[in-house]
Assembly symmetry: C2
Homo-oligomer: 138 residues x 2
DNA sequence: TGGAAAACTGAAAATCTTTCGCATCTTGTC
DNA sequence: GACAAGATGCGAAAGATTTTCAGTTTTCCA
Protein backbone atom coordinates (compact mmCIF):
# COMPACT_ATOMS: atom_id res chain seq x y z
CA UNK A 1 0.00 0.00 0.00
CA UNK A 2 0.94 3.65 0.16
CA UNK A 3 3.25 3.23 3.14
CA UNK A 4 5.57 1.02 1.17
CA UNK A 5 5.80 3.29 -1.84
CA UNK A 6 6.54 6.27 0.37
CA UNK A 7 9.20 4.39 2.27
CA UNK A 8 10.79 3.08 -0.90
CA UNK A 9 10.84 6.61 -2.22
CA UNK A 10 13.10 7.45 0.69
CA UNK A 11 10.56 9.56 2.51
CA UNK A 12 9.28 9.20 6.03
CA UNK A 13 5.85 7.70 6.28
CA UNK A 14 3.57 10.41 7.60
CA UNK A 15 -0.18 10.90 7.65
CA UNK A 16 -0.27 13.70 5.05
CA UNK A 17 1.83 11.71 2.60
CA UNK A 18 -0.26 8.59 2.96
CA UNK A 19 -3.45 10.56 2.51
CA UNK A 20 -2.27 12.52 -0.49
CA UNK A 21 -0.86 9.50 -2.29
CA UNK A 22 -4.14 7.72 -1.62
CA UNK A 23 -6.08 10.57 -3.18
CA UNK A 24 -3.91 10.53 -6.28
CA UNK A 25 -4.48 6.81 -6.58
CA UNK A 26 -8.18 6.73 -5.96
CA UNK A 27 -9.72 10.10 -6.76
CA UNK A 28 -10.84 9.35 -10.29
CA UNK A 29 -9.11 12.37 -11.79
CA UNK A 30 -5.76 11.45 -13.20
CA UNK A 31 -4.48 15.01 -13.45
CA UNK A 32 -4.89 17.09 -10.30
CA UNK A 33 -3.69 20.51 -9.21
CA UNK A 34 -2.46 21.08 -5.66
CA UNK A 35 -5.71 22.91 -5.08
CA UNK A 36 -7.71 19.92 -6.32
CA UNK A 37 -5.89 17.66 -3.89
CA UNK A 38 -6.40 20.15 -1.09
CA UNK A 39 -10.13 20.38 -1.75
CA UNK A 40 -10.40 16.63 -1.77
CA UNK A 41 -8.64 16.53 1.61
CA UNK A 42 -11.02 19.15 2.96
CA UNK A 43 -13.99 17.14 1.80
CA UNK A 44 -12.59 14.26 3.78
CA UNK A 45 -12.19 16.44 6.87
CA UNK A 46 -8.45 16.11 6.84
CA UNK A 47 -6.48 18.81 8.61
CA UNK A 48 -3.72 19.23 6.09
CA UNK A 49 -2.58 22.67 4.98
CA UNK A 50 -2.22 23.74 1.39
CA UNK A 51 1.47 24.41 1.96
CA UNK A 52 1.89 20.81 2.99
CA UNK A 53 0.10 19.65 -0.13
CA UNK A 54 2.53 21.63 -2.27
CA UNK A 55 5.46 20.37 -0.24
CA UNK A 56 4.41 16.75 -0.47
CA UNK A 57 3.63 16.89 -4.18
CA UNK A 58 7.04 18.44 -4.83
CA UNK A 59 8.70 15.72 -2.76
CA UNK A 60 6.75 13.06 -4.61
CA UNK A 61 7.92 14.59 -7.83
CA UNK A 62 11.52 14.54 -6.68
CA UNK A 63 11.11 10.94 -5.64
CA UNK A 64 9.63 10.01 -8.99
CA UNK A 65 6.23 9.09 -7.62
CA UNK A 66 4.41 11.76 -9.59
CA UNK A 67 4.95 13.90 -12.66
CA UNK A 68 4.27 17.62 -12.69
CA UNK A 69 2.73 19.11 -15.83
CA UNK A 70 2.56 22.72 -16.90
CA UNK A 71 -0.41 23.16 -19.18
CA UNK A 72 -1.22 26.80 -19.90
CA UNK A 73 -3.64 27.15 -17.02
CA UNK A 74 -1.44 29.03 -14.63
CA UNK A 75 -1.23 26.17 -12.18
CA UNK A 76 0.71 22.93 -12.20
CA UNK A 77 -1.11 19.63 -12.36
CA UNK A 78 0.21 16.38 -11.01
CA UNK A 79 -0.35 12.80 -12.02
CA UNK A 80 0.87 9.48 -10.72
CA UNK A 81 4.02 8.39 -12.51
CA UNK A 82 3.32 5.06 -14.10
CA UNK A 83 6.81 4.83 -15.48
CA UNK A 84 5.83 5.41 -19.07
CA UNK A 85 6.30 8.78 -20.68
CA UNK A 86 3.38 10.25 -22.60
CA UNK A 87 2.17 13.53 -24.02
CA UNK A 88 -1.17 15.31 -23.85
CA UNK A 89 -4.06 16.54 -25.89
CA UNK A 90 -5.93 19.18 -23.87
CA UNK A 91 -9.37 20.64 -24.58
CA UNK A 92 -9.15 24.42 -24.24
CA UNK A 93 -12.81 24.63 -23.38
CA UNK A 94 -13.65 21.90 -20.88
CA UNK A 95 -10.16 20.84 -19.87
CA UNK A 96 -10.59 17.24 -20.96
CA UNK A 97 -7.27 15.47 -21.36
CA UNK A 98 -6.28 12.62 -23.63
CA UNK A 99 -2.88 11.00 -23.22
CA UNK A 100 -0.92 9.70 -26.16
CA UNK A 101 2.48 8.45 -27.12
CA UNK A 102 3.78 8.68 -30.66
CA UNK A 103 7.01 6.80 -31.31
CA UNK A 104 7.65 8.75 -34.48
CA UNK A 105 7.51 12.06 -32.66
CA UNK A 106 9.72 10.73 -29.89
CA UNK A 107 12.27 9.58 -32.43
CA UNK A 108 12.26 12.83 -34.35
CA UNK A 109 12.80 14.79 -31.16
CA UNK A 110 15.85 12.76 -30.35
CA UNK A 111 17.19 13.26 -33.82
CA UNK A 112 16.64 17.00 -33.69
CA UNK A 113 18.36 17.28 -30.32
CA UNK A 114 21.27 15.25 -31.68
CA UNK A 115 21.55 17.41 -34.75
CA UNK A 116 22.00 20.42 -32.53
CA UNK A 117 24.34 18.52 -30.21
CA UNK A 118 21.97 18.88 -27.31
CA UNK A 119 21.94 16.19 -24.65
CA UNK A 120 18.20 15.74 -24.33
CA UNK A 121 16.91 15.63 -20.79
CA UNK A 122 13.17 15.93 -21.09
CA UNK A 123 10.46 17.35 -23.24
CA UNK A 124 6.94 18.63 -23.12
CA UNK A 125 4.45 18.32 -25.93
CA UNK A 126 0.93 19.56 -25.45
CA UNK A 127 -1.60 19.83 -28.24
CA UNK A 128 -4.47 22.20 -27.50
CA UNK A 129 -7.84 21.99 -29.20
CA UNK A 130 -11.51 21.32 -28.83
CA UNK A 131 -12.64 17.89 -27.77
CA UNK A 132 -15.54 16.23 -29.62
CA UNK A 133 -18.03 17.42 -27.00
CA UNK A 134 -16.95 21.01 -27.17
CA UNK A 135 -16.90 21.47 -30.94
CA UNK A 136 -20.56 22.16 -31.49
CA UNK A 137 -21.10 24.88 -28.92
CA UNK A 138 -19.37 28.19 -28.67
CA UNK B 1 9.76 51.37 -39.10
CA UNK B 2 8.01 50.54 -35.86
CA UNK B 3 5.37 53.24 -36.24
CA UNK B 4 3.97 51.58 -39.31
CA UNK B 5 3.77 48.11 -37.83
CA UNK B 6 2.03 49.44 -34.76
CA UNK B 7 -0.44 51.40 -36.83
CA UNK B 8 -1.13 48.46 -39.09
CA UNK B 9 -1.74 46.35 -36.03
CA UNK B 10 -4.59 48.71 -35.22
CA UNK B 11 -2.91 50.25 -32.20
CA UNK B 12 -2.20 53.88 -31.47
CA UNK B 13 1.39 54.85 -32.00
CA UNK B 14 2.74 55.75 -28.59
CA UNK B 15 6.22 56.16 -27.19
CA UNK B 16 6.16 52.98 -25.04
CA UNK B 17 4.98 50.89 -27.96
CA UNK B 18 7.60 52.22 -30.33
CA UNK B 19 10.33 51.74 -27.76
CA UNK B 20 9.29 48.20 -26.81
CA UNK B 21 8.92 47.04 -30.39
CA UNK B 22 12.31 48.53 -31.14
CA UNK B 23 13.86 46.60 -28.29
CA UNK B 24 12.34 43.35 -29.48
CA UNK B 25 13.73 44.03 -32.94
CA UNK B 26 17.18 45.15 -31.98
CA UNK B 27 18.12 43.81 -28.58
CA UNK B 28 20.00 40.75 -29.72
CA UNK B 29 17.97 38.36 -27.60
CA UNK B 30 15.19 36.83 -29.61
CA UNK B 31 13.27 35.54 -26.61
CA UNK B 32 12.68 38.10 -23.86
CA UNK B 33 10.62 38.16 -20.70
CA UNK B 34 8.65 41.26 -19.73
CA UNK B 35 11.27 41.82 -17.08
CA UNK B 36 14.05 41.62 -19.67
CA UNK B 37 12.32 44.24 -21.77
CA UNK B 38 11.76 46.40 -18.71
CA UNK B 39 15.41 46.22 -17.69
CA UNK B 40 16.46 47.14 -21.18
CA UNK B 41 14.16 50.16 -21.02
CA UNK B 42 15.63 51.17 -17.67
CA UNK B 43 19.13 50.92 -19.06
CA UNK B 44 18.03 53.33 -21.77
CA UNK B 45 16.60 55.71 -19.17
CA UNK B 46 13.08 55.28 -20.42
CA UNK B 47 10.29 56.09 -17.99
CA UNK B 48 8.06 53.15 -18.76
CA UNK B 49 6.44 51.13 -16.02
CA UNK B 50 6.54 47.36 -15.80
CA UNK B 51 2.75 47.24 -15.95
CA UNK B 52 2.89 49.04 -19.26
CA UNK B 53 5.43 46.57 -20.56
CA UNK B 54 3.10 43.70 -19.73
CA UNK B 55 0.17 45.56 -21.20
CA UNK B 56 1.96 46.39 -24.43
CA UNK B 57 3.35 42.90 -24.88
CA UNK B 58 -0.12 41.46 -24.38
CA UNK B 59 -1.52 43.90 -26.93
CA UNK B 60 1.23 43.02 -29.37
CA UNK B 61 0.38 39.39 -28.87
CA UNK B 62 -3.28 40.04 -29.55
CA UNK B 63 -2.33 41.96 -32.67
CA UNK B 64 -0.12 39.13 -33.86
CA UNK B 65 3.11 41.11 -33.61
CA UNK B 66 4.66 38.81 -31.03
CA UNK B 67 4.27 35.27 -29.73
CA UNK B 68 4.19 34.43 -26.05
CA UNK B 69 5.97 31.25 -24.91
CA UNK B 70 5.70 29.36 -21.67
CA UNK B 71 8.92 27.53 -21.01
CA UNK B 72 9.21 26.07 -17.53
CA UNK B 73 10.92 29.09 -16.07
CA UNK B 74 7.94 30.55 -14.32
CA UNK B 75 7.78 33.57 -16.54
CA UNK B 76 6.49 34.10 -20.06
CA UNK B 77 8.90 35.00 -22.80
CA UNK B 78 8.01 36.90 -25.93
CA UNK B 79 9.47 36.88 -29.39
CA UNK B 80 8.72 38.74 -32.56
CA UNK B 81 6.25 36.84 -34.71
CA UNK B 82 7.87 36.17 -38.04
CA UNK B 83 4.81 34.41 -39.31
CA UNK B 84 6.27 30.94 -39.27
CA UNK B 85 5.48 28.53 -36.50
CA UNK B 86 8.39 26.79 -34.82
CA UNK B 87 9.27 24.82 -31.71
CA UNK B 88 12.13 25.10 -29.25
CA UNK B 89 15.12 23.32 -27.85
CA UNK B 90 16.03 24.90 -24.50
CA UNK B 91 19.23 24.44 -22.49
CA UNK B 92 18.27 23.80 -18.87
CA UNK B 93 21.57 25.17 -17.69
CA UNK B 94 22.34 28.36 -19.58
CA UNK B 95 18.97 29.01 -21.16
CA UNK B 96 20.25 28.92 -24.72
CA UNK B 97 17.46 28.40 -27.22
CA UNK B 98 17.48 26.78 -30.63
CA UNK B 99 14.43 27.00 -32.83
CA UNK B 100 13.37 24.20 -35.12
CA UNK B 101 10.51 23.04 -37.25
CA UNK B 102 9.94 19.41 -38.05
CA UNK B 103 7.29 18.70 -40.69
CA UNK B 104 7.03 15.08 -39.62
CA UNK B 105 6.21 16.05 -36.06
CA UNK B 106 3.71 18.64 -37.22
CA UNK B 107 1.99 16.07 -39.38
CA UNK B 108 1.88 13.45 -36.67
CA UNK B 109 0.34 15.91 -34.26
CA UNK B 110 -2.44 16.65 -36.67
CA UNK B 111 -3.06 12.97 -37.19
CA UNK B 112 -3.17 12.28 -33.48
CA UNK B 113 -5.63 15.10 -32.89
CA UNK B 114 -7.78 13.80 -35.71
CA UNK B 115 -7.72 10.29 -34.34
CA UNK B 116 -9.15 11.58 -31.10
CA UNK B 117 -11.60 13.83 -32.92
CA UNK B 118 -10.01 16.94 -31.48
CA UNK B 119 -10.13 20.13 -33.50
CA UNK B 120 -6.53 21.21 -33.08
CA UNK B 121 -6.05 24.84 -32.17
CA UNK B 122 -2.44 25.15 -31.15
CA UNK B 123 0.42 23.21 -29.67
CA UNK B 124 3.56 23.62 -27.65
CA UNK B 125 6.63 21.45 -28.01
CA UNK B 126 9.71 22.18 -25.98
CA UNK B 127 12.67 19.88 -25.73
CA UNK B 128 14.86 20.47 -22.68
CA UNK B 129 18.47 19.44 -22.50
CA UNK B 130 22.07 20.57 -22.25
CA UNK B 131 23.53 22.61 -25.05
CA UNK B 132 27.00 21.74 -26.38
CA UNK B 133 28.63 24.34 -24.14
CA UNK B 134 26.99 23.11 -20.97
CA UNK B 135 27.64 19.41 -21.33
CA UNK B 136 31.16 19.32 -19.98
CA UNK B 137 30.67 21.16 -16.73
CA UNK B 138 28.41 20.31 -13.88
C1' DT C 1 11.25 0.48 25.28
C1' DG C 2 13.29 5.35 25.95
C1' DG C 3 14.73 9.36 24.11
C1' DA C 4 17.23 12.33 21.24
C1' DA C 5 18.21 13.67 16.55
C1' DA C 6 16.35 14.41 12.25
C1' DA C 7 12.57 15.16 9.58
C1' DC C 8 8.03 16.90 9.18
C1' DT C 9 3.93 19.93 9.85
C1' DG C 10 0.38 23.86 9.76
C1' DA C 11 -0.21 28.68 9.67
C1' DA C 12 1.27 32.82 8.42
C1' DA C 13 4.31 35.62 6.02
C1' DA C 14 7.01 36.20 2.02
C1' DT C 15 7.97 35.73 -3.09
C1' DC C 16 7.24 36.16 -7.75
C1' DT C 17 4.90 37.20 -11.73
C1' DT C 18 1.13 39.36 -13.67
C1' DT C 19 -3.02 42.19 -13.58
C1' DC C 20 -6.13 46.08 -11.82
C1' DG C 21 -7.93 50.64 -10.52
C1' DC C 22 -7.62 55.17 -11.49
C1' DA C 23 -6.13 59.82 -11.87
C1' DT C 24 -3.54 61.84 -15.35
C1' DC C 25 -1.54 62.23 -20.11
C1' DT C 26 -1.57 61.44 -25.50
C1' DT C 27 -3.10 60.49 -29.83
C1' DG C 28 -5.98 60.75 -33.84
C1' DT C 29 -9.52 63.49 -35.90
C1' DC C 30 -12.30 67.57 -37.10
C1' DG D 1 -6.42 73.78 -31.24
C1' DA D 2 -10.33 71.06 -28.91
C1' DC D 3 -12.10 66.56 -27.57
C1' DA D 4 -13.25 61.85 -26.97
C1' DA D 5 -11.18 57.55 -27.01
C1' DG D 6 -7.52 55.27 -25.72
C1' DA D 7 -2.90 54.87 -23.05
C1' DT D 8 0.18 55.41 -19.28
C1' DG D 9 2.34 55.16 -14.63
C1' DC D 10 1.89 54.04 -10.12
C1' DG D 11 0.72 51.51 -6.25
C1' DA D 12 -2.23 48.01 -4.71
C1' DA D 13 -4.04 43.43 -5.46
C1' DA D 14 -4.19 38.92 -7.15
C1' DG D 15 -3.00 34.09 -7.74
C1' DA D 16 0.34 30.40 -7.30
C1' DT D 17 3.94 28.62 -4.83
C1' DT D 18 7.62 28.80 -1.38
C1' DT D 19 9.73 29.95 2.95
C1' DT D 20 9.88 30.58 7.79
C1' DC D 21 9.22 29.14 12.34
C1' DA D 22 7.97 26.95 16.45
C1' DG D 23 5.83 23.00 17.82
C1' DT D 24 5.12 17.75 16.41
C1' DT D 25 6.12 13.19 14.79
C1' DT D 26 8.94 9.59 12.98
C1' DT D 27 13.18 7.00 13.07
C1' DC D 28 16.70 4.74 14.83
C1' DC D 29 19.62 2.70 18.05
C1' DA D 30 21.26 1.94 22.74
MN1 LIG E 1 -0.85 12.46 -18.22
MN1 LIG F 1 11.17 31.09 -30.87
ZN1 LIG G 1 -13.88 19.87 -24.23
ZN1 LIG H 1 23.61 25.70 -22.14
Amino acid sequence: MENEQIKQAGLKVTAPRIKILGILERSGKRHMSAEDVYKELLSQDEEIGLATVYRVLTQFEGAGLVCRRHFESGQSVFELNNGEHHDHLVCIKCGAIVEFLDPTIETRQKRIAAEHHFKIEDHSLVVYGLCPNCQGTR
